[in-house]
Amino acid sequence: MNTYYAANLLIYAGVDIIAVLALNLQFGVSGIVNFSFIVFQAAGAYAAAVLSMPPHTAADYSFQVYIGGYQLPFPIPWIGGALAGALLAIPVGLVVLRKLRSDYQAIALLVTSIIANTVINNARPFLNGAAGLALVPQPLQDQVDTNTDSYLYLYIALTAVCVGLVWFVAARIVNSPYGRTLRAMREHELAATALGKNPVALKMTMFIVGGAIAGLSGAILVGFLTVWAPSTWLYPETIILFAALIVGGRGNNLGAILGALLVPVGFEEVTRLMIRLNIGPPNLIPALEWVVIGLFILGFLWFRPEGVRPEQRHVFEGSPHPEIEDRVVAA
């Protein structure tokens, strides 16, 4: 295994872990079926790209057109990516989360994902349309040689710091009274409302927090890949993240990480390897990949809906049942 392959794997793992942790906050904990999740990752990637790239009129960049081009130094593009995800969540959330019932919210968000991809695909002057953006500068590339193993290690370390930061935020939310309120809203929104909880505010907050984290994951990814195009964020990418969460365990941060490692990273790597080994006719493995992901989702929802690592029961000190194994000691 060469260093680049290992780095590629680790950085993808980091990005997917961040994304699935964000989706866990939205779907696993709060019950928001965000079928447009990938749009927020894309927003972060595009924002990070145009914040770090020079204007499209610059030499070497004139083959593409895009807005912005501010050449801002690291870490501003990553922060900008997170902000873009959060800012995009505000109008989308206000339209979708205020009036619609949760099943209609899911449909509206799926449609939003398709519309956003179609618009970016066809509006070339905005973000270079279907061809996407290329030559996106890598973080700190003016200070470190990006063609070295050291730079790969640095990128892995930066990604790991972001994973740690997102884990910290997610853990604090899930294990707090606020997380309990979010779980209550997920279980019975009307009853939570009758207890003085404002479901729109709760959902909007988690939509924005999740959007910011998704945006950060996109910024990390585009900084590594140096390219970003509509074909990289089609709506099925969201389904893969949902599959990861369903397999790993909804409502459990460790389950989210496990799911990210099993599905988008592990499963896709296995299929990639099978393609390299020329198993079966061409395109058989990519086609079967979707079939298997669909079966993963159906199989887990049918036989183990709580996932590999189910949501933990929150048991308090002094409980009459100290024997409960899945307890989280709270208060």
Partner: protein, 249 residues
């Protein structure tokens, strides 16, 4: 304490609540009875803010709350329970109670991010309070069990305890005894009487008329969306048109 003035609720031409006016006195249990489809639950939902009124006004403690959303009415102390069990199934019984508790510094995004040290004191205080309620309602042994696994009667008790965690000034109970084992019915009856003795105001929809007679200081009767009578249960039994409406529907 709670006043409804000419409250209407229409569903595409169907008048589920049709000009209901009533006054719920402070510190009493007021019953709301009527045949199925009379509009009682819809009226309760309109009072609680779960459904908006098509017309009319609702006052609570003298303030017009007609336009307030449900969560703000709950924060004012007007707290409802539901006709069907509405427990938070994958939360423990104790957590169900803690969700309702106001004034927890950890119950905001900022508070959550600040960490346990920031909200531990509030949490410990509320856990103590919730355990007190569990003890009073005889459910201490169940605190760590998932609420979704409780019996129908226990779910009713959870709902009432959960509402009490909000320190309500007026409870809106929608058929709190329906589908409940007779032994638990007696328990609930006892608790409601003791809550009234402590000064809590209760408006209660109930089908079991003998319970209404035992519990309620005054009773309103609804049929076909309208209020057709009020008084004590004994007095209502003597009114022929009330008996007919209730029996015939």
């Amino acid at each position: 304490m709670l006043v409804a003035q000419d409250v209407h609720r229409h569903f595409e031409g169907m008048h589920a609540v049709d000009g209901v006016s009533l006054d719920v006195p402070r510190g009493q249990i007021t019953g709301l009875i009527g045949p199925n489809g009379a509009g009682k639950s819809t009226f309760m939902a309109v009072v609680a803010g779960t459904l908006p009124a098509s017309a009319g006004r609702i006052f609570f403690e003298g303030a017009d709350i007609t336009r307030l959303p449900a969560y703000r009415r709950a924060r004012l102390g007007l707290v409802r329970t539901f006709q069907l069990p509405s427990e938070f199934a994958r939360l423990t019984v104790l957590e169900n109670l803690l969700v309702a508790a106001p004034h927890n510094r950890g119950d905001s995004l900022f508070g959550a991010l600040m960490g346990r040290r920031y909200w531990r004191e509030d949490e410990e205080r509320l856990v103590t309070e919730a355990r007190g309620l569990l003890k009073r309602f005889g459910m201490s042994a169940k605190e760590s069990d998932y609420a979704g696994l409780m019996s129908g009667g226990q779910k009713r008790l959870i709902e009432i305890m959960r509402a009490l965690m909000l320190h309500p000034r007026c409870l809106l109970l929608d058929e709190p005894m329906s589908g409940v084992h007779p032994r638990v019915v007696e328990q609930i009856r006892y608790y409601l009487q003791s809550l009234r003795a402590e000064g809590l105001t209760i408006l209660m929809v109930e089908h079991e008329l003998h319970l209404v007679e035992q519990l309620c200081d005054s009773v309103f009767v609804m049929a076909q969306g309208k209020l057709i009578g009020s008084g004590t249960m004994a007095g209502l039994r003597r009114q022929r048109e009330i008996v007919d409406a209730y029996l015939v529907g």
